[in-house]
């Protein structure tokens, strides 16, 4: 399990600088709807989760806004690449800011670190503009000396309220 021992910021892969650079890169690929670059960041067993209603809900018994395994991430991106995923064609204009980055812990067994960060995301679309905010938990894994994303859970502020269409990568 993830331990709460002092974060391994001296790990050759998981320096704080490299972790932050990875989060910013992932955010930029999502903001720019660069689906290929974004997809290349994930591990083969990845989970991409946006809970609905309750951040502590069990996604195996309760609905989620998104609960994608790696195969479904791929399907989602394939649909986006058709250019006929109308909820995202044309793509939203997006820019997000990531802050309050905390290294939560590390798991030597899986060579993963857990990192959490807050975000604010501005979306402009024909429908209008939306301000999205929340806190994201990432599990990052060292794969051949590179950081890969094994798990991303996005807890939206206001997840218990009706949400506008969320067609972009959050």
């Amino acid at each position: 399990m993830i331990s709460s021992a002092p974060p391994a910021t001296d790990h050759p892969t998981f320096t704080r600088d490299r972790i932050e650079q990875f989060l910013y890169r992932e955010a930029r690929h999502a903001d720019e709807s660069d689906y290929d670059a974004w997809e290349s960041l994930w591990t083969d067993d990845a989970i991409y989760w946006v809970p609905a209603d309750d951040p502590d809900s069990d996604p195996n018994t309760t609905v989620s806004v998104i609960f994608d395994n790696r195969s479904r991430i791929s399907t989602r991106l394939k649909q986006l690449r058709t250019g006929k995923r109308y909820a995202q064609a044309p793509a939203s204009q997006l820019r997000r800011v990531i802050s309050n980055v905390e290294v939560i812990g590390e798991d030597p067994a899986t060579a993963e670190v857990e990192v959490a960060a807050n975000f604010l995301l501005f979306e402009s679309k024909a429908r209008g503009s939306e301000l999205w905010g929340g806190r994201t938990t990432y599990r990052l894994r060292a794969v051949d000396g590179e950081i890969r994303l094994a798990y991303k859970k996005v807890v939206l502020v206001g997840l218990d309220k009706p949400l506008a269409t969320l067609g972009f990568l959050i």
Binding site: V50, A52, D53, D54, S57, P59, N60, T61, T62, V63, S64, V65, I66, F67, D68, R72, T75, R76, K78, Q79, T82, G83, K84, R85, Y86, A87, A126, R127, G128, D160, K161, P162, L163, A164, T165, L166, G167
Partner: protein
């Protein structure tokens, strides 16, 4: 002056002028006065779907819901009776309950501490001397006057009298029976929680779309293409599926002719009995010879006026907010006694519906573009004529059309006009 002697009944009603047999007027989607009138004549009169009794499974359970624009609390009392309470204190009108759900025999208004039983009955008020003692006030939390359920689907009506729920459901009741029969114990549960999808469009665009078999091949081509889904073919010109006007504004896409042709159990869910062996065995044990037919024919695709849509494995609850704003609540059907199938239905629903759903987010995009489109001044009318040239009446007396025909929409508008013209 003879025209003044014409009986008033021969003059076309206001809604006759907006709703023609083959066209409807754009102002029906954009006029705030019509929306206000709909709240009174539809949402706060007719039977409206609110939730499912499995959401309040135990005595004391409660869950906040919306009925039209009203904030209601669905409760189950100690006699297991389900109530719909209006979330308003009888004292100063404060909101009584601020939790989304929970379990409690009573509610306490935070403003002055008045307490109510979960039936709405006033239990007490602090400093009772100011009212001359305890039990002196003939007040209570208001409740929706008529509450009834069918297959556990709970409906409320603000009209103290009128057609019963079973009369309102009419032929659509059989579709809810068909859904329940997919469970080996004949029961549906809606216990997976609800996605809440804000939609900046008039609620009727959603109701019309739910049994529109014309759009899937276009709006959903992106997901059908990448997943190799056979759903698109069910809504092609060659499909043997039919669209049926079930009366009272209800309609369905009856896909059974297609599934009967294939005669493959569980094809309707894109699987086989071998891949859900426990479920198939339970169905065969429960229904004997009928099990194969039930598993071949699959679930209903039915729109129940004005706001309940069952799409095989998903249930939608549409509630209006304003003339150009509504909320779609969606959840996965869970069939009692069908664990392995329920997990699959939940997973598939999460992928398909809600704000990020690979199907419904595209429908919702169309609703919102449609709302922007109808703001254009001309042409003033929208077509609902598709298939009028080939509709017919089936053995049960219902009007049916092809898989892509607008038979359901015409049924919707016919009932809508009757309700809106009622004084």
């Amino acid at each position: 002056m003879t025209e003044l002697l014409e009986p008033a009944t021969t003059a076309p009603s206001r809604f006759d002028q907006l709703i023609r047999p083959r066209q409807v007027h754009g102002s029906l989607y954009t006029n705030p006065e019509i929306f206000t009138e709909e709240l009174a004549k539809i949402w706060h009169t007719t039977w409206v779907f609110v939730g499912h009794d499995s959401e309040v499974g135990e005595p004391g359970d409660y869950v906040r819901k919306t009925l039209g624009t009203q904030d209601v609390i669905m409760t189950r009392d100690s006699d297991r009776q389900v109530h719909l309470l209006l979330n308003r204190c009888a004292h100063r009108g404060n909101q009584v309950c601020d939790s989304a759900k929970g379990n409690s025999k009573s509610f306490r208004c935070p403003y002055h501490g008045w307490t109510y039983r979960n039936t709405g009955e006033l239990l007490g008020y602090p400093y009772h001397q100011g009212y001359g003692g305890k039990g002196k006030l003939d007040l209570r939390m208001a409740s929706v006057p008529r509450v009834a359920s069918y297959q556990g689907f709970v409906f409320g009506s603000f009209a103290t009298d009128g057609p019963s729920l079973i009369d309102h459901l009419g032929a659509a009741a059989g579709e809810l029976d068909r859904l329940a029969r997919l469970s080996p114990v004949g029961k549906v549960e809606l216990t997976a929680g609800w996605l809440k999808h804000r939609t900046q469009a008039n609620w009727k665009l959603l109701a019309e779309n739910e049994t529109d078999g014309y759009h899937p091949q276009f709006v959903h081509a992106s997901i059908f293409g990448v997943t190799g889904s056979p759903i698109g073919a069910l809504y092609s010109e060659k499909s043997t599926a039919v669209t049926r006007n079930l009366g009272n504004g209800h309609s369905e896409n009856d896909l059974r002719p297609e599934f009967r042709n294939y005669a493959e159990p569980m094809r309707w869910f894109g699987t086989t009995p071998e891949r859900v062996p426990e479920y198939a065995a339970a169905m065969r044990a429960a229904y004997g010879e009928d099990a194969e037919r039930i598993m071949i024919e699959g679930g209903p695709h039915v729109m129940i006026f004005p706001n309940l849509f069952v799409a095989e494995i998903q249930v939608f609850n549409i509630q209006p907010v304003a003339v150009d704003d509504c909320v779609q609540y969606s959840t996965a059907v869970q069939l009692t006694g069908s664990g392995e199938l329920n997990r699959r239905m939940l997973s598939q629903s999460i992928g398909s519906v809600g704000p990020a759903g690979m199907l419904l987010a595209d429908d919702t995009e169309m609703y919102e573009r449609n709302q922007r489109g109808v703001a254009a001044r001309s042409p003033e009318w929208l077509e609902v004529s598709r298939g009028t040239n080939r509709e017919s009446v089936d053995d049960d007396g219902f009007t049916i059309g092809g898989a892509t025909d607008e038979v359901g929409m015409r049924g919707f508008w016919s009932h809508y006009r009757a309700l809106m013209d009622a004084s």
